[in-house]
């Protein structure tokens, strides 16, 4: 027992050691992330969006569904971003829409990621027939065009907010499943996993406590990017008028102005810029995380 520092040479080391090693890595990641200007900027901007989402209805107490101006008033003093075809204030709509957009996007992302990680982890860890079955199912879901499938689900069931969230998740989880599976396949061959199995750890513990934390870096990047994709996806469904009619979202504001936007560019431009900005910030964060978690690949 001369050298037990390196886990490559000696598999018999404590779990605490891996944990502390991981902690050091995370701290390094955080430092690298904060040194990345665009990523930090994106992060701060997202905090502003979250603030607007939570306190928007207090800061701008007006009713977004109320007619406050002559229909299709151009942007100006009374209505900052103009009014839509029913005389509703576009600015008030954007502020109030932030909340719904964010809640739907985060919930749908969580459900998507949960399904994806579960399927990917089980397939990658157990391998064999389980892997085979799960991957065939994944392939099946991959050939169904996501938006078309989601439209069908909403049409068959209902445009209730829960159905919309599930429709988004059911049609997009395959990316995360494939990614998680690939990571699990790589990590399960590591010595510390064998060691953990040798001391009699049960499968559930090995999956959740040993492999998953080590598989997290690429998955975290994927989750970050997924939030952005989900925002655009939800906006597309809202644009088509397939989501709950009583909830105002940015996509719905664009969709409802479809027949009028040649006379009033502001009715579609501003809600779209809101989507563009928030997703752009998420992309910057994703890039920052990517650079911070894979310092070697910087600039790719």
């Amino acid at each position: 027992m001369t050298d037990i520092k390196s886990k490559d040479q000696n598999p018999f080391f404590s779990l605490e050691e891996i944990d502390s090693e991981r902690e050091v890595k995370w701290r390094e990641t955080l430092r690298l992330f904060c040194a990345n200007r665009p990523a930090l900027f994106g992060f701060l901007f997202i905090i502003v969006f979250i603030f607007v989402g939570i306190f928007g209805s207090i800061l701008v107490p007006a009713d977004p569904f109320e007619m406050v101006a002559v229909p299709l008033t151009s942007p100006g003093v009374g209505t900052l971003f103009g009014s839509d075809y029913l005389g509703r204030d576009v600015f008030v709509g954007i502020v109030h829409g932030t909340k719904a957009t964010m809640i739907i996007a985060t919930t749908a992302t969580l459900v998507t990621v949960f399904i994806g990680i579960t399927v990917g982890a089980l397939a990658g860890y157990y391998g064999g027939i389980i892997d085979n079955i799960l991957m065939r199912i994944t392939e099946f879901f991959q050939v169904l065009p996501p938006l078309v499938f989601a439209m069908v689900i909403v049409a068959v069931f209902s445009s209730d907010i829960l159905v919309v969230i599930l429709a988004i998740a059911v049609t997009t989880w395959t990316t995360e499943a494939r990614l998680t599976r690939a990571e699990f396949l790589k990590i399960k061959e590591q010595d510390y996993v064998t060691a953990s199995r040798a001391i009699g750890d049960r499968d559930r513990r090995i999956i959740a406590r040993i492999i998953l934390p080590n598989a997290m870096p690429p998955i975290i990047i994927a989750i970050t990017l997924r939030v952005g994709i989900t925002i655009i996806y939800e906006a597309a469904l809202s644009f088509l008028g397939l989501t709950d009619p009583d909830i105002i979202t940015w996509g719905k504001m664009i969709g409802q102005s479809r027949d009028y936007f040649f006379d009033a560019w502001w009715t579609v431009t501003f809600p779209g810029v809101a989507i563009l900005l928030i997703v752009l910030c998420i992309a910057l964060i994703g890039d920052g995380l990517n650079d911070a978690l894979n310092p070697k690949l910087r600039g790719r």
Binding site: V143, I153, A155
Partner: protein, 323 residues
Amino acid sequence: MMQAVIQRVFLGIVLILGVIVLNFFLLQAAPGDVVDAMLAEAGGGDPELAARLRQSYGLDQPVYIQLIKYLGQVCIGDLGYSFYYDEPVATLILSHLPTTLMLTLSALILAVLFGTLFGVYAAIKPKGFFSNFVTVFSLFGYATPVFWLGMIVLLVFALYLPWFPAFGIRSIPEPDHPFDRALDIIHHLVLPTFTLAVLFLANYSRISRASMLDVLGADYIRTARTKGLSEPKVILKHALKNASLPVVTLAGLQLAQVFSGAVLVETVFSLPGVGPLLYESIVRRDFPVILGVLFGAATTTIVANIITDLVYKWMDPRIQSIT
């Protein structure tokens, strides 16, 4: 090789059968059935007539028998009947398909071609202006909703600068000469194709830039250079082929996404494709059409995936089997 092809085709057939089964259960879950649709179109009817009709359509039989019948029907190309259009669903979809295919394929080809070009050019000078442009461009490509981009493009290039027509795929009245007619259709397709292509192009240029940077650092490129090959020859003959593999794979895998994008773009530009057909059928709750579109889109993707796999294998003989 032959065995791999057979295996891949077999898997494709299993997937298609799976889509049919899914369709059947979605149709079961949908509110109302064929008889309801018929009676609604005929202006109502009494319950006795409904029951008799259900019997004659086999709707009173157990679910598994209905499923087998449905499988048989779809296999001979019968996707059901739309009472709104008064046409078989298969005919309806086939008549809307050319527009969608034209849009999807031209956008995909443009995106792959220019995406690879941009990426390769950016990778040759990784610190140059163009390289940074590709980075920023791909960020915007990721963050822009395609339907919104379509509207902005319409505002700029159809309203403020009236260079292109705003809606539809043909002028009214249509030009007489067939050549002019083709030009007219192309003129109508420029903006939608551009809208759909530009976002995927952004993504592909980033991917091909990364993969080209990888390839340019590989040993065989150094060997090619030390052999004294000219730089263009190294790039075009040795690097480009390997660097374009990930883009081709991704494009194949993303066909389902491109199709989804086409649905939105067609809706924005009012093109007579599958997109608006689906959208209007959803508004009218015309379920045979809705599920027919899902089936058609999935089948197209499956076939395209098989083709991509084979192209990939042909481009990269090192890969023996892709599952």
